[in-house]
Amino acid sequence: MLQLGRVVEMDSNAGAALGRTHRIGHLVKQILVHGFLIFASVLMLLPFVWMVLSALKLPFEIAARPVVWLPEVPQWSNFTRAWEMLDFGRLMLNSVIVTVLTSAGVIMISSLTGYALAKLDFPGKNVLFVVVLSLMMVPFFMLMVPVYVIINKLGWVNSLAGVIVPEIAPGFGIFLMRQFMMGLPDELLDAARIDGASEFRIFWQIAMPLSRAGLTALGVFACIYHWDNFLWPSLILISPETMTIPIGLHRLYQPNLFSMYNVFMAGSTLAILPMLIFFFIAQRHFIEGIAMTGIKE
């Protein structure tokens, strides 16, 4: 596994031998690097700061020129207005349902298929693996029109199923789990076989627990993606009761209604918060998971 916390030790040993000039050079370098890091942090955080401050302003403060940074009296009611106009509780529920069910489906299908491709021998295995590899090259937009026609035929337009079901057999997930499960020791699986365990039990009680890191990576990836997915859900979820957060927020937003920008900013803050909180709690898993998806072995 990757150890992201580890820092490559570049300056520790050799530094002492080189004496004072080196130390001053080192100090200057540290100041420059930190200056750059702080500057970058300001740029990264500025939109969030502006969003939250604006969410607390009155309409005339939103349109003030020169700009007003801090609101005279923080308008917390903007958040209740945004919550009600968005019907945020409902949006949140739909988003959670879509994200959890899709991610769970992706994890289940990917690990089952990935395990079979990595560790079991069956007719048509190589063909299936080639199909999975080619799936990774099919961009979503190629499926947008025909899958919409199918979902329409199935009567799934305006239902969460229409968003969830087409998304749960991704080539990427199957490939990732196959690569991961290739690394599991065969002896362990064979030993279980000799002890008379069924193939499903071997998968479920031996392969799955040993693949926790890979499953976490895939889960994080799927959660980030499906929580924020916009294009496909926007085609399927057309009535307010079925909408997820991004779709509902987009419906509320009217670019030309400038007096409402404080409410739009409050709505945006609400939309960002759940995933942000989740990220701060499970930060290590997020970062390690993303790092892992970038490493092909």
Binding site: V7, V8, D11, S12, L37, P47, F122, T293, K296
Partner: protein
């Protein structure tokens, strides 16, 4: 486990077949079938409201019309410029951040968290926030430019700037993602290499050129390919911030397909566009992989 086709083999094989059945069904119904169907309707004029049997066969008419259409050409040109700009800028920023963080840094974890935060936010929400920042009269950016004595910009409302303004939002949102992957790549460089180089009297720049760059090359290849595919498919920020305007100046390929299929109901023509764009993405990816291989990167 490889075994001969006896009872033991069939025990495994039946389990294997059972395990892959759900995936095979889903892939057939929601990927392979639709691809064939899409290719089929790309030869018809069809609006989806009428039954497919009533659709008019037009041969390669859709392809000819799309390839000669000025709007489609503009969308393709915009998509290419957007992608080149986004890949170069995003990866440059990501690499700079990763390199700066890849040493003994005070509050390293905090900085990494800050840069990664935009990745986990909602694209629709940040697109709305940036629309306000970009607002020509009331936006923060023009206010700052005014204080610095620089002339006011149109940003999203200017035909010259709209595409780049949207691109900048994407760079801001995605740089942290690639930074994490670069950091992971940097961590795989063995520390002994640097130590050996230091013993031989190499300076920081030489070590960067001769150790970091070559060791990081496979990670960069992967990121270039992934970021290019991502950029060529951009949709959400454009859809929220400009709807492709003003005057199609920020119209990108996927948005044009979306309009063609779901606003103008020309399913056949939209399907033909997807195949044209796919061929383009395929060629670009192949060229990238070739170039990198020539540059000494092993095939991925």
């Amino acid at each position: 486990m490889k075994v001969k086709r006896g009872p033991l083999y069939w025990r495994q094989a039946s389990a294997g077949l059972l395990f892959v059945t759900p995936a095979v069904i889903l892939i057939t119904v929601f990927v392979l079938g639709p691809l064939v169907f899409s290719f089929y309707i790309s030869f018809f004029r069809w609006n989806m409201l009428q039954p497919l049997s009533r659709a008019k066969f037009v041969g390669i008419g859709n392809y000819v019309r799309v390839l000669t259409d000025e709007t489609f050409k503009a969308a393709m040109w915009n998509t290419m410029r957007f992608s080149v700009g986004m890949v170069v800028l995003t990866l440059a920023v990501a690499l700079l951040l990763a390199l700066a963080l890849n040493s003994k840094i005070y509050l390293r974890g905090l900085f990494r968290t800050i840069y990664f935060t935009p990745v986990v936010t909602s694209m629709v929400a940040v697109a709305i926030v940036w629309s306000y920042l970009y607002h020509p009269t009331y936006g923060l950016f023009n206010d700052i430019l005014g204080r610095l004595g620089i002339k006011q910009m149109g940003f999203l409302t200017s035909t010259a700037q709209s595409l780049w303004s949207v691109m900048l939002v994407n760079v801001w949102k995605r740089a942290g993602y690639y930074m994490v992957i670069f950091l992971a790549g940097l961590q795989t460089v063995p520390a002994q290499l640097y130590e050996a180089a230091r013993v031989d009297g190499a300076n920081s720049w030489q070590m960067f050129r001769k150790i970091t760059v070559p060791m990081l090359r496979p990670t960069v290849l992967l990121c270039v390919v992934v970021a290019t595919i991502e950029a060529l498919q951009v949709f959400t920020p454009v859809f929220v911030m400009t709807k492709g305007g003003p005057a199609d100046s920020s119209l990108v390929a996927v948005l044009h397909m979306y309009d063609t299929a779901f606003s103008y109901m020309q399913m056949g023509r939209a399907a033909s566009m997807t195949f044209i764009l796919f061929v383009l993405i395929f060629i670009v990816t192949m060229i990238q992989v070739r170039l990198m291989q020539k540059g000494g990167v092993e095939a991925y």
